[in-house]
Assembly symmetry: C2
Homo-oligomer: 136 residues x 2
Amino acid sequence: MPIVSIEFDNNMPIYLQIMNYIKRQIVTGTLKPGDKILSVRELAAELQINPNTIQRTFQELEREEIVETRRGLGRYVTSEESKIMAIKKEMAGALLDQFIIGMQELGFADQDIVSIVAEAVTESPEPGQERGVNHT
Amino acid sequence: MPIVSIEFDNNMPIYLQIMNYIKRQIVTGTLKPGDKILSVRELAAELQINPNTIQRTFQELEREEIVETRRGLGRYVTSEESKIMAIKKEMAGALLDQFIIGMQELGFADQDIVSIVAEAVTESPEPGQERGVNHT
DNA sequence: CATAGTGTACTATTTAGCTATGACAGTGAC
DNA sequence: GTCACTGTCATAGCTAAATAGTACACTATG
């Protein structure tokens, strides 16, 4: 049984989901700047996934300059906090865009969108819950 | 050049994206209950996509009882408006969940989430725009 | 009847993602 | 040097998604 686990969405590449998983850990401080990251083989074993897939995940993260690789030693979270802030901003912006544009495409008015969010946040503060949405 | 077009996300199956595209048209009333839907070959030509992929899209939509098939005639939007309402509710709920849980995972407080949405909605009311997000 | 349009089915091919497995190279501790 | 870890590379195989092309069945129209 894995120590940590991710609920994978079959309609999205695993390596992208693991990327976001790592990014979240960095953004929220679970992984701090300069921290050593689990090795390819460790993380592969923990998530029950092929090491090659983890390798691809890290290659992407490195391309985004979020992690640094020291050959023979391991991988480390970038020390540039500005980079981490930028990632957080980018991820939040993507979430926001997807949500608002999506709701507008469904025909919701701007005021409705705001009140739906406000209501959802007050009625069930903990994550992972079902939420009701009033529609017109 | 296609009359209508969709910006496809390569990280998600096309047939699912077309599904949502059709669902949105139904939910917003662009396609009304009982309306005839473009044929497999028509829609395939319009979206520049293989008819087999469109066929798969419609099979899924039919499984969700959103469209009805009359062999030899074509496909039609369901006449049950309650079904359409349910779809809208479901799609909005999915968007909401994804957004709120995502923001919470990024470390945003509930109040922050509400104000970010309120600000985004007021500052750029039209869809398809970039939005800034203030983070702490 | 023939025709044109509809949905449906089938085979074959390509590509991306993921897996399985093995091998090689750099680093630090002993 | 040896060992155990690290990252990296390469080959092969499997599956789902999408394409291409063909064919068949149903329906309305004439």
